[in-house]
Symmetry: C2
């Protein structure tokens, strides 16, 4: 009978590792890989994809690995699918690399991998290659997952690849968000701190490719999609404004936030604007297409709370703020206007 | 003045992380990325590549992170380039994802990243996307690196993509190795155990794409390339024989092993056949092309010790061993023949 925890020998590259990979990985992921590449367990997988491609990677170190609404397995697949979707790319192939701590319970590993496999099935993307390493007890915290992904960038009606990028942003564009903010970070922090709130707060972690596909279809002048993960909405809009060389104004009153999340942020001393999301897009679109974008998102369950939350400000050469002033401001609910700063980064370690 | 160690805030997704990424990552890797994708710091990178593609990933957890002949940075780039090369694929784009332990010395991080950047330049492959996570002190061991890679599978004279795979192996084929075995594992273990030997033992870690390109050119009937890393030569030939459904015989006397490595293996209680390599190919090729393959490899410094070490045995339907017997045998230097088993996996934790 096999031990019910991970041993160092499980990462040694021999018979024991092959056995682990067959039982824990192939059993879950190979049936969803029609190419059969994963089952070959070769040094690399063959992938049929027509360029231009999107390529992305993320490591996941979230603590705890299981949290309300998701776990590190779902996070690892959704995060990479969402990064590809931000370039207008349909996910084609995903890699899955595990770093396991000696002593990790196989039951936990199994639950996390089940969750990853089911998330990949949701968007029909196969896991085609992977890697398994084991480190000594105390040299990692349970398990870390890295996923990388390849996507095919969708083409427009003219047959040319869609180009979603910050430098396409224009003054007058609208800034949208695909739903409520801060759910993921608050769910993880609540679990970590052992807090419970009147209303359950669950992570929004979800693979958003279906939402991106609808937006691409509905909006020829979709400028950019951005995944507001670490650093939350504040980091996402600041990065976009900086990369585009524009100023933006966000309207706090229009920002969709669940009351329970708002309450939890107050209790935890967090700012909803800087808390990570794992199932949301920030969308910048030409003003004339903002309504179409909202309708496209709201037609899907993952976008039912989509909202128009702000604008890209018109250029004003005479206005010093355009050159020297803050990139992003927030019109507050009480009617004032303040700088919405890029967060520094110390609030929420290991949130994803 | 910035602290000289990694802090948790360096992984928070805010201003501080952007600062780290610009100074430590972009400064080293962006100049070698003509597409400019890395510098965009977008959610994903755009990659121009014509399919079929090779796709691979590996996480690196080697301990210690610096060892004679290399470090975790060179290992992470070379390992992924070599996995792509095993499919006959020219490396096109690499991702680099870091998991850093709070308190990691920036000096060490810098050396490792310098090494990764210079290894990528050796084969002209750009790092186009990445990720940086930080975990609390004690939740990782200094740093772990994941790389994933995309390669373009080379085409033959007929314009069709080359197909290197175990199922192309035929009875009568020759088994070659591109140079001396066991150098990497012995170098790492010597450093870890604080041993020193009369002659220096250094890791063979190197990106092998130039060698693969020469083999592809020289040998139309090149069957398969395999990277004998964890589990060493014994694991590599057993995996190939199993996947191909053939038997192989390796000739111990023909195996290139440095005397210092042999001596170190004796001292450390290791079997040279099961120790990891990070700059070697196992090559299976039609017998008629074995000499051409050896000449192609020996024409490059990375293959100067290439040797013909064994054969794929002829089928013999009447021979029960073909169905029931061991997949791989070793003809020993003293003239006997023994089973060359798939290693179990417990010898060398964290060797790569």
């Amino acid at each position: 009978m096999r031990d019910d925890v991970i041993l160092l020998a499980d990462g040694g590259g021999g018979e024991r590792m092959l056995d682990l990979v067959r039982r824990e990985i192939l059993a879950r992921f190979a049936p969803a890989d029609p190419s059969g590449e994963l089952a070959r367990l070769a040094d690399a997988a063959r992938v049929e994809a027509a360029g231009p491609l999107a390529f992305t990677t993320d490591s996941y170190v979230v603590r705890p690995v299981e949290f309300p609404g998701g776990d590190i397995g779902r996070l690892a697949i959704a995060g990479t699918v969402n990064d590809l979707a931000c370039l207008g790319a349909r996910p084609v192939a995903i890699s899955l690399a595990l770093i396991l701590e000696e002593g990790l319970a196989l039951g936990l590993l199994g639950r996390v991998l089940d969750s990853a496999a089911s998330t990949a099935r949701e968007v029909g993307v196969p896991v085609v290659c992977g890697d398994t390493k084991v480190v000594e007890r105390g040299s990692a915290d349970k398990l870390f997952i890295n996923t990388a992904g390849i996507g095919e960038i969708m083409r427009g009606p003219d047959g040319r690849p869609r180009r979603l990028a910050a430098d396409a942003i224009r003054p007058g564009d609208r800034v949208l968000v695909s739903g409520t903010v801060a759910d993921h970070g608050v769910a993880v922090m609540s679990k970590r701190e052992g807090l419970s709130f009147e209303a359950a707060v669950t992570s929004d972690v979800a693979p958003l490719w279906p939402l991106a596909a609808r937006l691409l279809e509905a909006c020829p002048r979709l400028r950019v999609l951005k995944d507001p993960t670490r650093g939350g909405l504040a980091a996402a809009v600041n990065e976009l404004a900086e990369a585009a060389g524009v100023r933006m104004r966000i309207d706090e009153a229009r920002l969709p936030v669940r009351p329970a999340v708002m309450g939890a942020c107050d209790a935890l001393g967090l700012d909803v604007l800087t808390v990570a999301n794992e199932g949301k897009f920030v969308v910048v679109v030409a003003a004339a297409e903002a309504e179409a974008a909202l309708a496209a998102m709201r037609s899907h369950p993952l976008g039912r709370d989509a909202a128009d939350i702000g604008e890209v400000l018109p250029e004003d050469a005479a206005d010093d703020r355009a050159r020297l002033g803050p990139r992003v401001t927030l019109r507050t609910t009480i009617g004032g206007e303040r700088i919405l700063e890029m967060p520094y980064g110390e609030d929420l370690p290991r949130i994803c």
